[in-house]
Every structure is written in C-alpha cells, then in structure tokens.
Amino acid sequence: MRIENILNKIAYFRCEHDEHMAHGTVIIGNGIAGITAAREMRKISDERIQVISIETPYFFSRTALMYVYMGHMKFEHTKPYENWFWEKNRIELVQALVEKVNPEKNELLLSTGEQIKYDKLLIATGSKTQYFDWKGLDYKGVQGLYSFQDLEKLEANTPKPFQKDHPTKKAIIVGAGLIGVELAEMLNTRDIEVTMLVREGAFWNGVLTPSEAAEIGHHIESHGIKLMFESELDEVLADDSGKVRAVRTKKNEELECQLVGITTGVKPNIDFLKNTGIESDKGILVDEYLETNIPNIYAAGDCAQMREASSGRKPVEAVWYVGRMMGEVAGANLAGKKTAYKPGPWFNSAKFFDIEYQTYGNVMAKPEDKQEQYFWKVKDKNKFMTIAWQKETNVFLGINTFGIRLRHEYFNNVLKKKMTVGEVIGGMRIANFDTEFYSKWDKALKNDFTSETGIEIREPNMLQKLLQR
C-alpha cells in the first residue's frame, strides 16, 4: 500500500513535468458529493484531481444559506474548510461552467471555450429548483432557493436588515417542504408577511403523519406565517414594470405580494448531459458502484439515481447525507478501490422554526398494511414523536422525533438488528441525546406506550452495556 503510494507520487511528479501529462480525475460540482469524493480519493491515491464548479470558488455548506441571510453567520462561516486546505491536499479548483461532456473523447467543454480532458469523470452537479409551468415565473420577484446566486437574488428582492422603506412587504411561498419553511423563517427576520400555499390539506403531509403535520403547522403559524391549505398557484401577476404584484390561486383568489418563493421541490441538474449517451431518467442512472452506463464516468449526490435502490430507500435522495455517503463511495471507486454504495437505515433531520426534527428508519405518512404507529407528545411542550413498528412481529420500523434529540448510533443499531419496539423503547434512556439537565421523558413514554398499545417494554441490558460505554 505504502509503496504503491510512493510509486504513485513519483508517477504524479513525472506527469506534471511531462508533455503527455495524465489528465487524472475531473469532478464536476464542488458540493458535498463532489468534494467528499475528492477528499476520499486523496486519502487513497495521489492522482491528479480537478474539481470544476460554477457556483462559488470554494465548497460551502448549502444547508447554511438560511443562516447567512438571517445574520447568524457570514458566508465565510459556511465554508467547512479553510482556503489553504485545497492546495495543501492538491485538489485543483476551477470555477467554470461545464457546457458539454464528450464521453467519446474524454473531454469537457467549458463555457470559457476551454476544453478539459479527463481519465475518469465524476458528475456531482446537484439539483436545481423544480418549477412547474405556471404563468408569470419570469417576473421580477419570483425565485427559488437553492444556490448562492439565489441568496444574492433574495437579498436584492427583499429589504436590507433593519430597513424600513422597502416595497417588499408581503411574500407568497409556493410549496410547503423543508426549503419552504426555511424561506419562511428567513423572510420573517426581515419583517415580511409570509403566506405559504400548501397544495395538500396539511403541512408536508407526504412525509409527516397527520398528527405531526398538525403540530408543525400550528407551530409555524405561531410564528406569524399564514398557511393556506389546499391552495395551488395558478399564475403570478405583475405590474407594468414587470414586478410581481400578486398571485392568483387555482381557486381564483388574488393574493397581494411582492415576492414569490417557489419551493415545490428540486430536481437533478443534468440538462447539460442531453445527447451525450450518459443514461438518465430523473437523475443520472448509476449502478451500485455509482458508475454510469459509460465506464469511468460516475455520478453522485442529488443528481444521481440508483438503478436499483436498496430496500427502504428511494432511487433519488436529494439530501446532504446521501451526497456525502455517495461521495465517499465514488471517491473510493475513482481511486480504484471498488466499493459498493450500500446505505444503511434511513435517517434525516431538519428544523421547523424552533422545533428540531430527526428521523431514523421509516415512518410512513400513512402507515402501510400491517404497520402500526404510536404518536406521543410531552404535555404542553413542543416535544413529540411517532414510533412505527410491524404488526404481528412488533419489529421496530422507525421513529420521527420533534423537539427531542435522539442518538443516531442507537437507532442505526436497533434497526439493523431488527429489534422489537418494546426493546427499542426500553432503551430510550440511552437513546436520549437531549442536552444535560433537560427533563427526562422516557418513563412517561414507556408508561403511556404500554398502557395504550399493551406492548410490554423490555429494558435491553445487554445493549445497554454495549452502548453506554
């Protein structure tokens, strides 16, 4: 291993001073997927690595865009690595747009007109806002929230912090998902009146159970956000100068606003790959090694779609964690260490204004056949959870938790071991990840759970020993 490294280093050194320099690996996209791949590769190999990305010169955390707008952080703070990091690790950063990929010639065409050759290619171009074909999306004041440029646009479209005399006083957010809530929270800090158009009858009800959706809905409303359920956008209306002045809903209501935020989801950002021979569906189709139909071209992150998703997982999962895990796998494969992408139990997290949300395993918005769910809430507190399990076997399926922090390691273990819901709840004291001195809730949960479902709680002693190191 070590010798190989040294040989690689020598080869790299030679190449650098050689006419026929090795092209090495090129990664398109400096998001979490592309950057994790580059770092992972560098851990294993000494090949040349170039990362080409258009959005920003350096990797930043997209998930933190909201905090920049709200003044919790400066943009500088969203960069997980200092600027010297890249040169030190010999990861070459190029800020440019890739316009075309030519797999036959192993070549990329940049918007600058430059052509770049590669030996191996990773496409990690992420997502972009998904717009439906509503009328009036071109008007000034209509925007999505995905990129750094979107953030700049939002700054231009809304009052500066503490500014009083700005025309933008009301905003409509179309679509109630995670980004929609974040946008609502952001606009709230600039004193903009926010109304969210929710197509369904409850908040994010494709993911949350009805009880959860109701709780979260109330909480969002308690922050002064108006939720309009069963409302769909029909058309954006503008004044003579082309600035947004209102939206019309499908029910023909006209709602005054100066800003329209479109947060109806994202879709893989792969238009530039059309007619390249790289197979795609919603996203770029990849096998379990994250390789596309063309050898030596890989894809990872939001833009990738698994040909066969593993059980309990979706083919496209546009979340940070998946980008990171795919990046690790892609990086290993690019470095020649064949590694399959096998995601473990699903997990995710978010925050709805003041309520933190974590999920482990699968809790269906509407339980499937033979699945049971139990919703439990700490009295008078914004703390609640839904626990799901398999009917007859009592095997634990997953948990959604709100306002209560739980240990990832614990649930990863119990899900993999297919433990029963009684055992899982029995270990809640270990699973609890709340800050010290927070009041303990696990006893109450255990009592309520048993008395309502009749399922016996089993304190898992062995597990306890294993985990409570």
């Binding site: 709200m70 003044g71 997980p80 096998k342 997290s349 003041d354 709340d434 010290e436």
Partner: protein
C-alpha cells in the same frame, strides 16, 4: 411599546448612566475640610492637613495635580525642619578643610550627632566615599552634593509623605474629599439603577420571543461586527482598565458613590477594587439576566448562568468583604492557583501565618484546590466545572461577553498560536511561583541572577493587568469574549491538560447527522472549529473547550451533546460516519 422603541430607550438610558458615571470625574468638585483630612493622616503628618485644607475645591480630574503640589509644599517644610539644608552641608564641607581624607564616620557623627537619623542616612549614602582617592576636592564635593537629595528623600519618607505613599494618599484623600451628596447611596442607586434598568428594557424584545435560538442579525449588527460602535465600547473598556489600574484617583467620586455599601459590608471605606468588584458583579447580573432570557428553554444554559453568578456574588464579591470585616485575609475561596498567581507570594504566606488556624485553613484550602480539587473535578466533569460554572473571568465572559462570542478566530493558525501562548503563560506562572517561593523560604531574592521581585512584577503587569484585564475584557468587542481564557489563563492551560489527557468529558457527535452548517464553530467562544470534528463523526476532545454548551444549543440538527462518560471510546481519531455499510478507509 414597540420592540425598536424599547431597544432605543434601553440603550439611551444605559448611555446616560455611563455618561453621568464618567462625568463625575469632570464636573463634580472635590473639597477638603480640615477634620476629614486630619483623621486620615498619621500623627506625624497632621501638618499636612493644614496645607491640604487650603486647596480650592476642584473637579476630580484636576485634583491629583493640586494634591501633589500640596505634598511637595509640605515635604519642603519637612526638609527644612529635619533635613540637611544647603548651608548646613556647606559648613560640614568647610570643616573638612579641602581634605577629602578627613571625611569619615566620626566626622559625620560629630557634625550631625551620633545616633541621629540623618547620620545614619548620610552614611548609608556616602560611606562608599570614605577613604577613596579623589582627583581633587571639587570632585569629592560634587559627589557629596549629589547625595544630598537622596538623604533628604529618606528624610521625607521618615517624617513627611514619601513618593511611595503619595499615590495611595491622593486616592484616599480624594475619596474622602468627594462631596457628601454622592456618598448617601442615592446617586449610586440612580446611576447604577439607570444602567441596569436600561439593560432590562433593552431585553424586553428578547423576552417577547419564544424560547429558541436568538441569533438573528448578529452579523448584521454594527456593534457585534467590529464596526464603530464596537470600537467605542472597546476604547471605553480598555480606558476604564487603564484608569482603574494606573490612575484610580480620577475615579474618586465614583468610588465615593459606594461608601455606604462598602461600610456595611466590610466596615471599611470603598476603594477602586471595591468599585470594580461591584460593577463587575452588577454587569454580570444584568447580562446574566439577558442570558437567562436568551436561553429560556435550555436548562443547561440557565443552571450554568445561575451558578457563575452565584459564585461571583458569594465568593468573589461578598466573602472577601466579610473576611475583611472579621479582620482576616480577604480571600476569594474559589480562585485557584495559578490564576490566583499571588497565592504563594511572601506577603500572602505571612498573612496565612498570622491568622492562626483559619489562616492555615485558607492556605490548605488553596493548596488542596489546585492540587486535588482541580484535577479530580476536571476528570469527572471536564474543565467546564471551573471555567463556565465557577470562574469569575469565565462568568463575565459568559454573560457580558456573550454578544461577542462569535468573534473568536477559528483558523488552524490561531489554534497554533493559542497553544504556544497559553502554555507559555503556564510555564511562566509556575517558574515565577517557584522563584517567589524560593525567595520566601531562603530569604534570597536572587536566583540565577534574576530578581524574583522583578519576575513577579513583570508577571503582574503583563499577565495580571495587560492580559487579564485590558486585553481579556477590553478586547471582547474585537476578538471575542474568551481572549484571556483562550490565550492567557494559566489555570485554563492546566485544566486543559487534564481535560485533554485524563477526563470523562467530551462533546459527543451524533453519528452522521451533521450538515456542516457551521453554527457550532461560529459560536464557539474558544475558537474551536467544532464542525471539523462533527462532520467526520468524531467526538470533540479539546483542551481549550470550556463546556459552555453553546455549540450544542445552536446546532440545528441535534448533533452535539456535552457528556461525562467512561473514558473508552472518548477519543476516536479515525471515526466512521454512521450511515452506510462498509468501512471508510482511514489513511
């Protein structure tokens, strides 16, 4: 009232209070009445009272000059009376008949008297001249003339008011000379009350918010982003420290405000340290209240804030006053060596020795605290038990300094500097203490040719005043609230070594849940790049971590938890991020 209005109102009240406070130095006259002054003077200096009482009333900022003039005047009288006058010396020299070899002990004794104070001092200064070869008599004469000043200085020290006593006397006289209306407590109540009220009004908007994280607009706020309001605060704070340490007499009127409180607590008059302690405690109270409001719903933050405030009020402020009242050494029982760097100084040791079993207890307590208490508690709870639950410096940082916590530098470079500097201070503190102890035990003030007193005063100036005071607090608005704790505190360095290598404390990272957003790093007052660890699934075990818990509070994904657990698994240098099968290769 509207939030904006309240904030402006609160700020205005506070600024008024601060302005009135400082203007006392400029607009309120100090004057001396004979009886007040003479009661402060030693019997032999009663004559000074006459001169001082002729000084015209003047504002505090002019008074030190006037007093020093009066002291000089008085000392001239003293020299005239007890010192060697010019013609006296002339006579003496004439007696030597232009023959330097006639200058010896007996010549001096016969002229000035045998056991006279003057004789002793004269000889002390001139004995080296006896029996020397002089080129000519004039050279001898000049030398002896030169020494006249020294002798008279000694005379002034003995009978008048020596230079070394003047600073203290200026302060004492001025505090007494402050007008009576300031000393009733009413003005203290008005000024400090207004400042606190301003603060509380300013916090009402925060109170109106729901429990949660309240970091909105911090990076939009001029006073929190090193812009002009921050610079004003910075200048005021540093200025205050410089005056407090070096020119406290300009604060005489302000000190006088607290006369009734001081007399009730310790039985003695207030001095600049009492004023400082009072304001320190009051600032912690007000900003502590802000902390309590800001972190409603976060029990860890609330309990911790109550704890630091309790230790400030009870241990740092009240207890020393009570001890003084009982005529015992005033000692802050929670302050451990080497932060309490004078703990082993000779005058402190003398103090313990003079106070029988209680003095012995105080000494024993201090030794047990740093030798056993500190490492043991740090083993169980981490350094936080001291730094963010007990310590006064930490307490100020966590309350008054909280609005500035994001200003600490998170770069790798600053971490390197931090480790060098803070450990150097620890080494410096240990050596200084050893030096001073050596002096105390052997009576020998020199070791390796270096004087222990100069080591001590160097430390006192650079570490005690510049670093801990002016930089430590004054720099809050520009470098964050833990500059001292991070770069300068020798106790923090010591606690940190224990925490890093032998402790149950760590910040656990919650599996793979980190989204690298950076809130934790941004709000780490110690400049730890928390995210670096969190995003690799690694526990945070860092010597500098004071366990304030704010990273955990601001994390939007519930990734961080401060805990004390068994040591295995605490440090994982090659972490594996939970989330997928197959192991990450660690090279």
């Amino acid at each position: 009232m509207k939030n904006d209005t309240l904030k402006k109102l609160g700020l205005t009240l506070f600024v008024i209070a601060v302005t009135v406070f400082f203007s006392l130095s400029f607009i309120v006259d100090i004057s001396f009445k004979d009886k007040d002054v003479s009661s402060l003077l030693e019997e032999k200096n009663k004559g000074l009272a006459n001169i001082v009482s002729t000084i015209d009333p003047a504002p505090a900022y002019q008074m030190p000059g006037a007093l020093r003039n009066a002291f000089n005047q008085y000392n001239e009288v003293i020299v005239n009376e007890y010192g060697i006058k010019d013609d006296e010396l002339k006579n003496f020299i004439e007696k030597l008949d232009s023959d330097a070899s006639k200058f010896d002990t007996s010549a001096v004794q016969s002229f000035f008297g045998k056991d006279d104070f003057l004789t002793t001092k004269f000889l002390e200064n001139t004995s080296w001249m006896i029996g020397r070869d002089w080129q000519n008599f004039d050279q001898f004469k000049n030398s002896i003339n030169d020494k006249l000043q020294n002798v008279n200085k000694a005379v002034v020290s003995e009978y008048g008011l020596g230079a070394e006593k003047q600073d203290a006397m200026v302060l004492i006289l001025m505090t007494v000379g402050a007008p009576d209306f300031l000393k009733t407590g009413l003005w203290a109540f008005l000024i400090f009350g207004l400042a606190v009220a301003g603060g509380f009004i300013h916090f009402i908007p925060l109170w109106r918010k729901k429990p949660g994280i309240h970091n909105d607009h911090i990076h939009h706020n001029k006073s929190q982003t090193r812009q002009w309001p921050a610079i004003i605060v910075f200048v005021c704070l540093v200025g205050f420290y410089i005056f407090l340490y070096h020119y406290p007499h300009y604060l005489a009127n302000q000190i006088a405000l607290l006369k009734p409180l001081s007399e009730n607590m310790s039985g003695g008059a207030a001095n600049q340290w009492f004023l400082y302690g009072f304001m320190y405690t009051l600032a912690m109270f007000t900003m502590g209240a802000r902390m309590m409001i800001k972190y409603r719903g976060n029990m860890y933050q609330q309990v911790r804030t109550v704890s630091v405030f309790f230790f400030q009020v009870a241990f740092a402020f009240t207890l020393p006053q009570i001890l003084t009242r009982m005529q015992l050494p005033a000692y802050d029982l929670k302050s451990a060596w080497p932060l309490e760097y004078s703990f082993f100084f000779d005058y402190r040791i003398d103090e313990y020795m003079q106070n029988g079993s209680l003095g012995l207890f105080l000494f024993g307590w201090g030794v047990v605290l740093f030798a056993i208490g500190v490492p043991l508690l740090t083993y169980f709870y981490g350094k936080r038990w001291y730094c963010s639950w007990v310590c006064g410096c930490g307490g100020l940082a966590e309350t008054v300094g909280d609005p500035y916590r994001h200003l600490s530098d998170k770069s790798l470079g600053s971490w390197k500097i931090e480790r060098w500097v803070v450990h150097s201070v620890l080494v410096f503190a240990v050596f200084m203490t050893a030096w001073v102890l050596y002096t105390a035990i052997s009576g020998d003030s020199e070791l390796l040719g270096i004087n222990s007193y100069s080591v001590r005063s160097t430390y006192g100036f650079f570490i005690g005043f510049v670093f801990a005071g002016a930089v430590g607090t004054g720099f809050y608005p520009v470098m964050g609230n833990r500059v001292w704790c991070r770069f300068g505190c020798p106790l923090a360095a010591y606690l940190g070594l224990v925490q890093r290598f032998k402790s149950r404390f760590r910040i656990t990272t919650n599996g793979g849940q980190c989204i690298s957003c950076g809130n934790c790093s941004t709000y780490c007052e110690m400049g730890i790049d928390v995210r670096w660890y969190a995003q690799r699934g690694q526990n945070i075990v860092r010597s500098s971590c004071v366990g304030c818990g704010v990273c955990s509070a601001v994390c939007p994904r519930g990734v961080l938890k401060l805990e004390n657990k068994t040591e295995d698994g605490r440090i994982n240098d090659n972490p594996i991020l939970i989330g997928r099968e197959g192991v990450t290769l660690n090279l």
